[in-house]
């Protein structure tokens, strides 16, 4: 136990971080402790192996894609700020936030959550989920439990339903439209305790 201020002071630009992500001081401290626990060698940043060491994540069928989402293209390390910003996607949507016209969209908005999920499919980041990329995800989630034909038929049917402009790929808009009725806030949010 102790006052929060001393730990917060050790984190650079923590005010900006809290404003951008919407996390409370207590959350930031918890996340900072978690960051330090994952950063076993105390280097101040995380690399893919540190994530890979989390057993439950290694067991997740799309674990490596999730890890990939933390690292921007070309970067091999994640610092604390990036770590918190990515996790901010999973904050529940702030229902009573006033809609200021000039402020940037909050990280945990419905649209940004969808973008996060979209990039898990779209690994080459060309803005479209091709049939091939869809097959790869299906294979990851189902492993060896289904045959190649079953996978292909699932992929075909999915593209048929979602692909509105018939270019045999699913763009972000088509992705968003197909998930119109899904309660994204509930499915893509983590309840942070006080």
């Amino acid at each position: 136990m102790g006052s929060t201020n001393s730990t917060l002071l050790k984190i650079p630009n923590v005010e900006v971080l809290m404003r951008e992500t919407g996390f409370s001081p207590a959350h930031i401290i918890r996340l900072h402790d978690r960051f330090k626990a994952l950063d076993k060698e105390g280097r101040g940043y995380l690399c893919p192996q540190d994530f890979g060491a989390i057993k439950e994540l290694a067991m997740n069928p799309i674990g490596d894609r999730i890890i990939g989402a933390f690292f921007s293209p070309g970067k091999e390390t994640v610092d604390f700020h990036t770590f918190v910003k990515i996790l901010a996607h999973f904050r529940p949507v702030d229902k009573d936030r006033p809609k200021e016209p000039n402020s940037p969209e909050p990280i945990n908005s419905r649209s940004n959550k969808l973008k996060f999920a979209f990039q898990l499919y779209d690994q080459d980041k060309d803005g479209k989920i091709s049939r091939d990329e869809l097959l790869k995800v299906l294979r990851a989630m189902l492993g060896m439990q289904v045959t190649e034909e079953q996978l292909e038929s699932i992929a075909d049917r999915t593209i048929q339903e979602a692909d509105l402009d018939r270019d045999d790929a699913i763009s972000f808009e088509e992705f968003r439209k197909s998930l119109e009725k899904v309660n994204i806030d509930h499915k893509m949010s983590i309840r942070f305790l006080r």
């Binding site: 136990m1 207590a26 989390i54 067991m59 997740n60 898990l120 289904v146 999915t158």
Partner: protein, 451 residues
């Protein structure tokens, strides 16, 4: 000039001499003699009660101090940062279907895996078990407090006094006792080893072992409560217990006599091991022999078959866990086919954390931590003996024993393998997830095609 220093010298010598004598007499009377006979004056329990009152006061003081300064008190929660959804894969996916439609693949299915993945990044079950348990109240040890800083003068003074007492008085006392205990163990077991094999030798060896372990228990100021002693392990059986620290051995061995199992070490440990084995048969393996599972199993079963030999003490988790849960038991000791006597050990974290984080601290560092804590308080439960049933295999038997230990000790019963602390997750676990998911999808489409 020098002439009047002499009386001072002799005065100081005399004072030192007297204090040493007093010191050693007290030590002998209050600690060593009771250890030999296995009685207790109750001093340690009194000490424990007064410590509890002190900690409660300290906690209240800190809370009040923080409120006065209007600062937000950071209370560590022992159950994690986030509330995890208890719903399983199937439930989640059914929910996600837009009411009534057949469960088929949907783009939103990925949300489930994605969320679980990120949840595990923020807080996962396994890493939590290998870091020291977090406390709700503060026990005046800075190592268990997150950001100690000046809240009130009184508290800081109290902490300072605590440091003085712990390092200035308790630590030297304990170190002395530890050396005495270990020294006596080595010397006396070697002497007993000179006797011819027989009942006399066994009797003496038991007494010697018990006495030395009791001295070591006092060296740690360990306050142990033994429950259900009627279930204590008997000859020709194996005693299994959950593992939190190397001290577990001392705690159990000060109440009963066991045959130890372990690797041969060099240095001081090696000396102790060689001396112990002279008095009664323990099982020490060479490093090369440890890999050969059949050899290990054979030596264990040979020992168990001989009913004059003491019950074997084994820690099947294979590694130190932080005493909030029990991890997977290795099946080796359960294949031998003799009676198993389970024992549950639960430490009270308020007085000092007994968990040995071997990746963070070495042995000497750990022992120093232990000896400069307030006390080690723990409870030991002897559970009724269990044997492998007809239809069970070794793994199921191991899990049954594990569940019984976890239940009795109030620890969480986890499927996870203690080896996960260092090793990689087996592919099997990932396949389980994939199997579950495919059952939801493909299983239902089969129904559809049939109808």
């Amino acid at each position: 000039m020098e002439s009047y220093l002499f009386p001072f010298d002799s005065l100081i010598c005399m004072l030192l001499g007297i204090s040493f004598t007093v010191w050693f007499t007290l030590l002998l009377v209050f600690i060593i003699v009771p250890a030999i006979f296995g009685v207790s004056f109750g001093i340690r329990r009194l000490y424990m009660k007064s410590l509890i009152k002190l900690f409660e006061w300290a906690t209240l003081r800190m809370e009040r101090g923080a409120k006065e300064k209007n600062q937000h008190l950071y209370k560590p929660y022992s159950n994690g940062i986030i509330a995890k959804e208890p719903a399983s894969l199937e439930q989640e996916i059914q929910e996600m279907r837009r009411g009534g439609a057949e469960p088929e693949f949907d783009m939103s299915d990925i949300f489930y895996f994605c969320r679980r993945g990120v949840e595990s990044i923020v807080d996962d079950e396994v890493t939590k078990r290998f870091t020291a348990e977090e406390l709700e109240s503060w026990n005046l040890l800075t190592r268990s407090n997150y950001n100690f800083h000046h809240i009130s003068t009184r508290l800081t003074v109290l902490w300072g006094v605590g440091v003085l007492i712990r390092y200035g008085f308790l630590l030297p006392l304990r170190v002395t006792l530890a050396f005495t205990g270990v020294g006596l163990l080595v010397v006396l077991t070697s002497i007993v080893g000179l006797f011819p094999n027989g009942r006399m030798k066994n009797y003496l060896s038991d007494k010697v072992h018990l006495m030395c372990y009791r001295i070591c228990v006092r060296a740690l100021t360990a306050i142990i409560t033994y429950h259900d002693s009627e279930n204590k392990p008997k000859n020709g059986g194996i005693c299994v217990a959950n593992h939190t620290s190397p001290i577990d051995v001392i705690i159990l061995a000060s109440d009963g006599c066991y045959a130890m199992v372990g690797q041969v070490h060099g240095g001081l440990m090696g000396v102790i091991q060689r001396a112990m084995v002279k008095a009664c048969p323990h099982i020490w393996f060479e490093r090369s022999e440890v890999k050969d599972r059949h050899l290990v199993a054979k030596r264990l079963s040979d020992h168990v078959a001989d009913t004059t030999k003491l019950p074997i003490l084994i820690f099947p988790e294979g590694t130190c866990i932080n005493n909030t849960s029990v991890m997977m038991f290795k099946k080796g000791s359960f294949e031998i086919g003799c009676t198993v006597y389970p024992v549950a050990i639960k430490y009270d974290p308020r007085f000092g954390d007994a968990f040995w984080n071997s990746s963070k601290f070495g042995m000497v560092n750990y022992l120093l931590h232990m000896m400069s804590s307030w006390a080690i308080v723990c409870s030991v439960w002897y559970l009724p003996p269990m044997s492998r049933m007809e239809e069970e295999d070794a793994v199921q038997f191991a899990n049954r024993v594990k569940a019984a230990i976890a239940r009795k000790g109030g620890l969480a019963d986890l499927l996870w393998d203690g080896g996960l602390k260092r090793g990689k997750v087996k592919e099997v676990f990932k396949e389980e997830q994939q199997k579950l998911y495919s059952k939801v999808l493909v299983g239902s489409s089969e129904d559809r095609s049939r109808s």
